[in-house]
Amino acid sequence: MQSQIQALSHATAPEPTKCIVVQDLVKSYKRGRVRALLGLSLDIYEGEIFGLIGPNGAGKSTLMGCLLGLLKPDSGSISILGMPPGFLPTRRITGYAPERPDFEGWMTARQFLEYHHMLSGRDRLSRDQEIDALLMRVALPSNVWHRRISTYSRGMLQRLNIAQMLLGQPRLLLLDEPTLGLDPLGVVQVRKVLMGLRETGVTAIINSHQLDEIERLCDRVAFIRDGKICSVQHLNKDREEEYTLKVRWNRDRASDNVADAVAEAAGAAGVCLKELTLSSASFTLAQESAHALLRELISRGVMIEEAVPERTRLEQLFEMGGQNE
């Protein structure tokens, strides 16, 4: 009976709707001499926060440019909710936050948003209300709303950048380095905004080198290198997978048989000991094994000073050039 229910639920489970379908995208510059995208294909689902990572010159910005309709691919296709990029109805549902917000310096934040509100063809009656709400949402202090943009700090500009992106309640967001230049509070604010948008079903693509942010925000991440997608990682799912934990102890206070104690603790906790020195050890382990490992080490008299993940999964992915283990 239970298997029948499971089979039925599998049969009726709705397929996630694709928001963006990129197929065999090829883009080159300088009459084909610089090849930026080499047959890139990608599906991004509605409501997903999707990260793009990769080394400089990998083709991430070119892909963003193609998605925005600012660049024309040599071949291949892009569909955004069934429409081509750059098409006016597509632009109505798209919000874009450029990496460097060098906006018109003579304007105030309110004027800037008013300008973009008008460009978006939004209802004039809701303008003031919508602009105030957005400025508050990105926590831009109200005492600078009427100040010239040229006097803004990088953090203020970035908040304004996020606010203009959200104008018109877009269904698709394209963000280039959204937390670059922000103070920790600003980073938290942007994160909150994006997490809030996730609940409303907005799809977002984040192009960033800030791997920890990508890891915190994104559902999936694509590693792009040499104009191609090397791998796509499901980050939430991956959280259950293995990572490296580096444990350090006080060398002076460690007993002579610390090496044996560490090896025994690793065995008892069921984790793999990767590297061992006189004052530290690296273990490969699953998230849930960390507690058991530390307990075993302490019980064997290892005077632990710190235990830190050696690097994030995305850093590891980056180091491996986007190849899965």
Binding site: Y29, V34, N56, G57, K60, S61, T62, M64, G65, L68, G69, L70, L71, K72, L88, P89, R91, R92, T94, Y96, P98, E99, R100, D102, F103, E104, G105, W106, M107, Q111, Y115, H116, H117, M118, L119, S120, G121, I149, S150, Q164, D176
Partner: protein, 267 residues
């Protein structure tokens, strides 16, 4: 036409300190000062004054207004506080709408400023006893609007078409046109010389003729007073003027439609 672009281009002309200072200085302070000096100290009206109150003055005002449209180049994100085109073009407006609205706004602002300047200069003249009929003054003011329309169409094209060959051609053509506008008639007047003088004189004649031809080709303008007093309706001049504006605008739209905006790192 897009109201947002219209409103904020107008505001940019009024609130951007650099643009404002440039326009006030070249458009008003210098020519009005020159006119006052002419009457108060008996100095003759200079060629510079003629320039600044005519087509060249309109070109100077429009160049100031257009500063900023050049921002947001396709090669890099070098907005530096000016208009950042890639972001604007991700909004639901057509690129044709952008070009037409910019052109119309530049024409409106440039035309109004130049017409007001001509009016002030004429009023100063009248105050010092110059005899000017309202008909002539109205003709001058309309002429400045017509100048503004064609010069802003040419500038709009020059600002969006960033191919280096076109830029070289545009700058060259602008200087040749300026030469035609600024070369004083006295340069080629007087009796013919001999030897080196004759060569120099003929060279100047040739340069002037050529620059006038180029000027008429790239920026054909209509003299309202002459057109109104001509025995026949000046169809040819009007067709030439209108078709040139249309060519510039269509070319600007075609260029911006083809243009790509890459904002990432180069290479």
């Amino acid at each position: 036409m897009n109201n947002g672009i219209l409103k904020f281009t107008l505001l940019s002309a009024c609130l951007d300190k650099i643009k404002l200072s440039y326009i006030i200085l070249l458009g008003f302070v210098v020519p009005i000062g020159m006119k006052l000096v002419t009457y108060m100290h008996g100095a003759e009206e200079s060629q510079t004054f003629e320039m600044l109150t005519g087509k060249v003055g309109v070109a100077f005002i429009l160049t100031g207004l257009c500063l900023g449209l050049a921002g947001g180049g396709s090669g890099s994100q070098t907005g530096k506080g000016s208009e950042y085109l890639p972001l604007i073009l991700t909004r639901p407006i057509t690129r044709a709408e952008y070009i037409i609205t910019k052109w119309a706004t530049f024409t409106l602002v440039g035309g109004v400023l130049a017409a007001v300047q001509n009016l002030i200069v004429a009023l100063i003249g009248v105050a010092f006893g110059e005899v000017l009929s309202p008909y002539v003054v109205a003709g001058l003011m309309l002429e400045r609007f017509l100048d503004a329309a064609i010069i802003s169409a040419a500038l709009t094209l020059a600002l969006v078409a960033q191919h280096w060959l076109f830029q070289v051609f545009a700058i060259g053509a602008f200087y040749v046109w300026m030469m035609a506008q600024t070369m004083p008639p006295v340069s080629v007047a007087g009796p013919s010389g001999v030897g080196v003088d004759a060569v120099a004189l003929e060279g100047t004649h040739l340069m002037l003729t050529l620059s006038r031809l180029v000027g008429e080709l790239i920026l054909p303008t209509i003299s309202v007073y002459d057109a109104a007093n001509a025995p026949n309706f000046p169809y040819l001049a009007i067709v030439s003027y209108v078709s040139t504006i249309v060519i510039y605008l269509v070319a600007a739209i075609a260029v911006i439609n083809r243009r790509e905006f890459f904002y990432g790192t180069s290479g």
